[in-house]
Symmetry: C2
Subunit: 356 residues, 2 copies
């Protein structure tokens, strides 16, 4: 194992599309969503067991979730959990963690991974990550993982790449959430893959990229070198985040860079962004139901039932529905109308913040 390998796990999301299971006080990365005995955050960390030493795992999260992270990943020291005082999207998150790591190890090779994705093919994932790390270590490039699209999903970012030999292909362009017609074109062309939001680069390359494309963020987090790993770090970060714009790493860096490469991977990936995506990656019963709960189902088909274990849930005559209960919220909604969930969250928040 290369002792220069690091992973930055981004675990600050609030995942409202997965409400009511994902809640501001306890978002989905801290849940055992698939019922495997490990939360999504734990599964994400497990995935890098053979890629980098445990002391090189860094988790960036909201101040509110620091204790949850330390509980779920007890091998982490406090300096490995980076607390964001406010949410500023992924670019500041990546910059903070990368510059902090660079201070400790300027030769660091870094994987950036969201805490709330599902990757079913762990071995394939590991091998793709090692290929990407190898490419990143050899030259000044930014590497991303690309997933072959299986449908014209309008919720994902797409990456157009150059058809060429080898595992590491040059990226031509990024296309954020296209409309359906465009997504269908992308799918038909065979030149596009989904952007999994998993990035691989060296501390040096990402520093170069920030310097060139996002000099303000570079300046802010470079100034932290005096504070990282010290008692002043929290104070520094608190001030630094006030100055940061809220911007994604894709917009701030990837789309502006001309040294971006993609490693294609059939890794059983899902961003688990929605109930539908949970449905897709989960085992189904003989009636096409994904069931996690103590249920009695009569004429129930193609539905997701996810309810507390202690509760008996008796359902008759529902097709293509989501029945989800978590904490003090029960949601019953047609599966194909789950885009309404964000409205539910907004309306619920007006009732009482305890519901969101």
């Amino acid at each position: 194992m290369n002792q220069n390998n690091y992973v930055i796990i981004m675990a600050g999301g609030i995942g409202t599309r997965f409400w009511p299971f994902s809640r501001i006080s306890n978002p989905k990365q801290f849940h055992d969503v698939l019922g495997t005995g490990r939360t999504l955050l734990q599964q994400t960390a497990d995935r890098f067991e053979h890629v980098c030493p445990p002391e090189n795992v860094y988790v960036v999260t909201s101040e509110d979730y620091v204790n949850l992270v330390l509980e779920q990943l007890p091998f982490l020291s406090k300096s490995q959990v980076l607390a964001e005082p406010i949410r500023r999207n992924t670019a500041p998150c990546v910059a903070y963690a990368s510059y902090k790591i660079a201070k400790q190890n300027p030769e660091a090779n870094i994987v950036v991974a969201p805490a709330d994705h599902i990757i079913l093919k762990e071995k394939a994932f590991e091998s793709k990550i090692l290929i990407a790390l190898d490419a990143a270590a050899k030259s000044d490039v930014l590497v991303t993982l690309g997933i072959s699209p299986t449908r014209p999903d309008t919720g994902y970012g797409y990456i157009q790449y150059t058809k060429e030999e080898g595992e590491v292909k040059r990226v031509q362009s990024f296309r954020e959430k296209p409309n359906l017609a465009l997504a269908e074109e992308f799918l038909a062309s065979g030149e596009y893959v989904w952007n999994a939001g998993i990035f691989i680069w060296t501390a040096k390359s990402i520093r170069n990229a920030f310097l060139k494309h996002s000099p303000r963020l570079h300046e802010i987090f470079e100034a932290g070198n005096e504070s990282y790993y010290s008692e002043h770090e929290a104070h520094f970060v608190h001030n630094a985040y006030q100055s940061c714009e809220s911007i994604s790493i894709d917009y701030a860096i990837m789309e502006k860079s001309d040294n971006v490469y993609v490693v294609l991977g059939d890794i059983g990936w899902s961003d688990l962004g929605t109930w539908k995506s949970l449905y897709e990656v989960s085992d189904k019963d003989e009636h096409g139901n994904v069931v996690d709960g103590n249920t009695m189902l009569y004429e129930v088909k193609d539905s997701i039932i996810k309810t507390p274990q202690g509760k008996l849930v008796v359902i008759k005559g529902l097709e293509n529905f989501i029945v989800a209960e978590y904490d003090n919220v029960l949601m019953i909604c047609p599966k194909d109308q789950e885009q309404k969930v964000k409205d539910f969250v907004a309306d619920a928040g007006e009732k009482d913040s305890c519901f969101i």
Copy 2:
């Protein structure tokens, strides 16, 4: 107020058709089903406030519910709560209470009323009861309340009566739960009313009726005269119930008697036997929903939502459904398939008795 007036409230039912709200450990008579602040049992007792003195209210219930009764009706002394050791339908229940009351007051006029019915028109009810009590006190008759049928319900008993002047009409026959064709005939004929299961008679008349039509029950409970209101009562009742057949007061007495009269009443009655009957007597929102809970409803119509107050319930796209949660059971079922509830209860019981 006539000090000889008594009421026997039958509160031993387990109401499984109203599951999961009605539970063996806490059946529906002990619930504030309509959300008025009073349970069905309390409402039943309230209904007799101007009919008989509080010390003349007797409640017959299962041993398991004695404390619930005393909690909900704190004006009762222990001797006014009659504990049945086993369920034996209504005839033994009526005999036990009637013979006990007769020992205290041989001149007693008695109303027998189920604890789990709804009567919306309290004033009309009271006046009909007083008419029936008056008739019962004057001669050796058994009086029942009849409800003008509004639909050919196959779940009720029907009473055929003689069309004659006056409030108290002679009963020609009782017809238990007819099939639909027969129920439609009954409705069309105008000669039938629903049997509300509310009876009015004197202690003497019901004793005569038991003596004549159910001599075994007469013998069993007449023998209790040495024990009623004494420390031996519980022991006596325990043995007596072992000897009782399980039989309704309708079969044991009413259908065999030729001195039965009916007082017709438009009293806003529902036996609240089923979810549908709750739907019928409850206030509805502008979309035809009966809602008792903290809900956010989107495109929900003609449904019953009855869920715990502390829980936010978000539902989209259900029509004609029941969504009911109580204790540790959630049921979602089309409103017109509520006859399946008894299957649910049976299946739930096989999982764990805590669910029934």
